[in-house]
């Protein structure tokens, strides 16, 4: 009887906030004092045990399982280290650990700009408010190492007064403005996607906007499709890097999750990111949002089955089927791109001229862009399988045309046969093939972790100890 009384009472129970939280409070545990359910579920993203067929909450060393990536990114940071990521809880750890951020020895050292912090922590809005946005984007990544220490959290998505969803990053607001859209008019349901679109989007660093700043910019002025963004980059003649073998002016696509999602049927039907990745949960008549953001395949009951009356195994199979069908051709495109880079290098070696190579290099740029757009968005083969398949097809067509041109050019230079495919059976072989000194890179990282990193953590601890509100949990 007591449990029945209790359970009936549940439905009427109401929660009252206890702690006054400032908007720029970066510590999740402080917010968590008021919202224990959300906080506890958020911390479940520390669990890295779930693995799905292609994704999941463990780190996956993508270069290890697919060494062709090393060749595609030759000359660029990603060829050193690239992983399929894990939960928000690890955002700060992982950017510190990545070989892409190198081994800075002081706050003006290292390969990356401070902008890299932008999507990793609620310390970012705090610093932006302190320094100003353009200032934040200036200098090296190492400059803010002692400031940005709390992993992605409440302040990134919430207004501290009302707990409404809000946009804490300028990049998205600016992109909307340039498109003539007013983000403050977004509906509640749209906000359940737009908070994610602050980070899960393709971006580049605009070096011209503010002197000395790597200004975080979303390339959506002409639209959000792969083609529209490609056109945008072509017109401003932007490239992320020059490929070390083919010399093509390359583009890197980064997690265009929001862009691809937008072209899928779920977006069309008004389903938001949060509907699948943060489904509502009801515990004892109290409804709350599950803040354990993760692959929905670890939580099919609450995410998919709310809308689909199918068995769990079948829904998971639906996801895998889509991923398999897309990834089959994405892999093919990847292989063709390796060939193209190797063949282009051969052409240069045989004395091809800039003029002869111009179209070919543009072909490689465009084909690889499309591949990357489809690959970098880990959810795309499910979020928008038809669109993702379409993009890959156009990529395969472009690389095909390009390799025909290469075949003719090589023949003209006296080399009329297949260029042999490199031995890149493992990550190590591939990295050696493109001439990376991995031992050195790893040692530098190690030195950073031993010398500079502990200082950052020390400084941050001291600073936070001085905040008004002490952590009381």
């Amino acid at each position: 009887a007591s449990s029945v009384i209790e359970r009936r009472a549940e439905a009427v129970f109401v929660n009252v906030p206890k702690t006054e939280v400032s908007q720029f409070e970066p510590r999740n545990s402080v917010w968590g004092e008021n919202y224990p359910r959300e906080f506890q579920s958020y911390y479940q993203s520390a669990d890295t045990s779930f693995a799905s067929k292609y994704n999941g909450s463990q780190m996956i060393d993508m270069l290890e399982i697919d060494p062709r990536l090393v060749v595609l990114w030759a000359g660029y940071g990603f060829s050193r280290d690239y992983s399929q990521g894990r939960g928000h809880f690890y955002a700060v750890d992982d950017i510190r650990n990545s070989l892409r951020t190198g081994g800075p020895t002081n706050e003006t050292d290292g390969p990356q700009p401070s902008t890299c912090w932008t999507c990793k922590s609620p310390d970012v809005p705090r610093m932006m408010q302190e320094e100003g946005v353009s200032e934040f984007y200036k200098g090296k990544w190492s400059r803010l190492g002692a400031e940005v220490v709390n992993p992605i959290g409440c302040a990134d998505c919430h207004d501290s007064k009302t707990m409404n969803l809000h946009i804490s990053r300028p990049g998205l607001i600016e992109a909307f403005e340039r498109q003539g859209k007013d983000i403050t008019k977004a509906s509640h349901q749209e906000m359940r996607t737009l908070v994610c679109a602050q980070c899960h989007v393709e971006y580049y660093f605009d070096k011209h906007k503010a002197e000395g700043a790597a200004y975080l910019t979303f390339p959506w002025d002409k639209g959000m499709s792969a083609e529209a963004i490609e056109k945008y980059y072509d017109e401003i003649e932007f490239s992320d890097w020059t490929h070390s073998m083919s010399k093509a002016p390359m583009l890197k696509a980064q997690h265009p999750e929001y862009e691809t999602y937008s072209l899928g049927i779920h977006a069309e039907r008004g389903v938001s990111c949060a509907d699948c990745h943060m489904p509502y949960k009801s515990e004892g008549g109290q409804k709350f949002t599950d803040h354990h953001i993760q692959s929905p395949l670890n939580n099919v009951a609450n995410s998919c089955q709310v809308c689909h009356r199918e068995e769990t195994a079948k829904l998971i199979q639906n996801v895998y089927d889509r991923q398999d069908k897309i990834i089959e051709n994405r892999n093919k495109l990847e292989e063709l791109l390796v060939y193209a880079h190797v063949e282009a290098k051969k052409a240069w070696d045989l004395g091809a001229t800039e003029a002869e190579m111009k179209d070919i290099l543009m072909g490689i740029r465009h084909a690889q862009w499309r591949w990357d757009f489809a690959a970098a968005s880990h959810g795309a083969s499910f979020h928008a399988p038809i669109e993702t398949g379409r993009i890959i097809s156009t990529g395969i067509a472009i690389v095909g045309e390009t390799r025909i041109k290469l075949a003719r050019l090589l023949a003209r230079k006296g080399f009329n046969q297949e260029v042999s495919y490199p031995d890149i059976a493992t990550k190590e072989k591939a990295q050696e093939f493109i001439g990376l000194d991995m031992k050195k890179l790893k040692e530098e990282k190690q030195a950073f972790r031993q010398n500079l990193l502990p200082k950052w953590i020390e400084t941050a601890k001291k600073r936070e100890a001085g905040y008004d509100k002490k952590v009381g949990m």
């Binding site: 029945v4 359970r7 009801s282 004892g284 609450n302 809308c307």
Partner: protein, 192 residues
């Protein structure tokens, strides 16, 4: 009379046994009262919402075209005979009540096969006139089977609960929430 006497416990035991039996009977009635179990004998949809976890289904039904003509039991219990009706009700009721008390309910409740069959028969019960053209039924051998063998809501996916199903899917709906059985003063006393 003799039989009753025979069933009575030996004298020294009579008082304690009566006491214990009384407590059990009292508890039973209390539970029956507090969980509003008496209401389950009725067909009133509000009674299903005694468990707040039935609210989404109440809300969706309440906004469907079926609200005017059907209550939950029109669909969810058999109507082929009275015994079957109450037997099914009791069986289902027991499972639901115990799962509820033990907090075993899933986040997204799925109707069970037995329940499906019952609902399906009820759809047919009401709509058979539309489904079964007497001319065809008399001239086409399997017409009645073919017109009714497939679960209706495979096509009529929104009837009557819509497509979004979850304990949390209709948070703001006006569902006749049960009043709290705990008095206000007690609530205040317990708070903090």
């Amino acid at each position: 009379m003799k039989l009753i006497l025979h069933l009575l416990p030996p004298k020294p035991w009579r008082f304690p046994v009566l006491l214990i039996a009384g407590i059990f009977i009292g508890l039973f009635f209390f539970l029956f009262y507090v969980s509003k179990a008496y209401s389950y004998l009725s067909d009133n949809p509000e009674t299903c919402v005694n468990c707040h976890i039935m609210s989404p289904q109440y809300a969706t039904w309440n906004h469907s075209s079926h609200r005017r003509y059907t209550n939950c039991n029109d669909c969810h219990v058999p109507h082929n005979n009275v015994f079957n009706k109450y037997f099914f009700k009791a069986k289902d009721g027991m499972r639901h009540a115990s799962m509820f008390a033990l907090r075993l309910e899933p986040q997204v409740i799925f109707i069970h096969q037995a329940g499906k069959d019952v609902v399906h028969q009820n759809c047919i019960r009401c709509h058979s006139k539309l489904l079964l053209d007497p001319k065809l039924v008399s001239s086409v051998k399997n017409q009645s089977v073919h017109a009714t063998d497939r679960v209706c809501w495979e096509c009529h996916r929104e009837v009557p609960h819509g497509q979004v199903n979850s304990l949390s899917s209709t948070p703001n709906a006006r569902v006749p929430l049960p009043e709290s059985p705990v008095p206000d003063w007690l609530k205040k006393a317990i708070a903090n």
